[in-house]
Amino acid sequence: SPIVMPPPRTEVVSIKFVLDWAIQGPQAPFVVALEKGYFAQEGLAVIVDRGYGSADAVTKVASGAYQMGYGSLDAMIEFNVKNPGKELIAVYVVLNNPPYSVITLKGKGINSPKDLEGKKIGAPEGDAPRRLFPVFAKATGIDPSKVEWVSMSPPLREPSLVKGEVDAITGFYFTGYLNLLALNVNPNDIIAFKYTDYGVELYGNAIMVRKDFMQQHPDAVAKFVRAVNRAFKEVIANPEMAADLVKQRDPLVDRNVELERLKLAIKDNMVTEEVRRNGLGAVDKARLERAIKSVVEAFNLPRTPSVDEVFTDRFLPPKEERTI
């Protein structure tokens, strides 16, 4: 491992960083970087706060309340198009595949995506899988207008599904799956249609930064990414350790549940074929271009941003440091 050099005598840059959601297993890379002092070693004073959804995280970064944040690329693209002059840009993709999924239970009569037609799906209005459902529908050839949506806050989804209020829900797979387990649902009864399994080409969550901050403090951004990348590799190599640190950071969590969640995320969303090929954090430009198009279509956006507006690789550490 590299020898830790004494940090160069530059001013300490402080970065406030907002997560997409609560501190849980899949957020481990940031927790580990923080708890192990990797940010500090890079000469950064970093504060990590929990978030309330990608849209909220994007807004908070754009508003200046935070310098950097973690959220889904689709939310960022939508925000950028709608708020010219306040754009964010992604610098490191953590979830190479988005965890978007439709989840249902055995006995609801839904065995393939096609069966969703004429059924009730529960989800928050702003839920990414819900809003990107047209992309999924297109990929699976179902008619999205034949689905009835029921709006509800995130924690109400799984109970509503179990109680029969709705026939299916959308959400992050690792969240929905584990929540259903917590509700004593037999794992064998859970049916999930993961968007990526059906050829939906989207990217998941990424580290985002406000453009003006990026221009003023390119070094800080690079250091931040380097620290996260370092932690990320450790998380993948040793999820048990990561779960311990998450528990340490937030004593209220159930370590084993978060470990489970993290493992699911690593398997499905973090370490994909593409990641093994290109290394952590990077994107495939062609795929990203198609993803942007899908998002623009699904959200009915007036403009299609270019790949360079959405992601920049200039802060990625050298590929060998990102390879697993």
Binding site: G53, A55, V58, T59, A62, S63, E78, F79, K82, N83, K86, P124, E125, G126, D127, R131, W149, V150, S151, M152, S153, P155, L156, P159, S160, K163, E165, F299
Partner: protein
């Protein structure tokens, strides 16, 4: 108090209409100025002009959702008035009930109603019922408190007028308690009606397919903050309209207290 001249008539008219209008105008101007001077981005706090623009553009939708909210609010608020009045009478009348029930009420009201909405949703399904119930649950307490205080502080001299006739407790309620507590009852209605709106909106934002709460959540998840504020603006207008209804009722019913 005893003079009435043209000039005083004019002054009253100005007080009645011009001043509140001016205050509102001032408020909106200030808001507009703040957003411009500090160049506050639209996704944080849209300017009122932009908000009104968006409001007009989406008027039918906003009205439809506002109507749903108004309906839930009014039903919940109606329940509040009935139960708040009854409970207030009971608590204000009997020191025993006061001691028995009050702490429980306080405990219940310390709980954010957001935490209760999911339970209501699970029990009553998504839609109107949780909104109505939330509006009710959030708004009855101020009514209870004020009616209870008004009853408990009836001067014994007044109470004795009826007691000396052998009046029952219920009669003392009706003949003295109720009219005497009217000014505070109306005061509490002002608080309760605004809370009822809040309750309905909160519930809609947690689980509903319609209503201003739903609209706000939907709009904000699309980064359409001006639409959120347009919804808030309409709700506020409805709130003020309701307030004006009370104000008129109040003037007719409890003018005696404001001599």
């Amino acid at each position: 108090m005893s003079k009435q001249s043209l000039s005083s008539l004019f002054v009253s008219a100005v007080k009645d209409y011009a001043l509140p209008t001016a205050v509102f105008a001032g408020f909106f101007l200030l808001w507009e100025a703040v957003t411009r001077i500090f160049a506050i981005p639209e996704f944080i706090l849209p300017s009122p002009s932009r908000t009104v623009e968006v409001m007009l553009a989406n008027f039918p939708i906003i009205i439809r959702h506002s109507y749903a909210t108004l309906e839930a609010t009014l039903i919940g608020f109606g329940l509040s008035i009935v139960f708040g009045l009854l409970l207030g009478l009971a608590v204000g009348y009997s020191a025993i009930i006061y001691r028995a029930v009050y702490p429980l009420l306080v405990a219940f009201n310390t709980i954010p109603k957001v935490a209760i909405v999911p339970i209501l949703v699970i029990w009553f399904g998504i839609g109107k019922v949780p909104a109505v119930l939330t509006a009710f649950l959030i708004s009855f307490f101020p009514i209870v408190v004020n009616v209870a205080v008004a009853l408990a502080t009836i001067e014994p001299e007044i109470r004795d007028v009826l007691r000396s006739l052998g009046a029952s407790k219920t009669q003392i309620f009706v003949k003295i308690g109720v009219p005497r507590s009217m000014p505070y009852f109306f005061g509490s209605l002002k608080v309760a009606s605004t809370l009822a709106f809040v309750g309905a909106v909160i519930s809609e934002s947690v689980a509903s397919n319609e209503g201003t709460g739903y609209l706000m959540i939907a709009a904000s998840s699309r980064f359409d903050v001006p639409l959120v504020f347009a919804g808030l603006l309409v709700i506020s207008f409805i709130g003020i309209s309701l307030f004006l209804v009370f104000a008129i009722l109040e003037k007719r019913l409890v003018g005696w207290a404001y001599r």
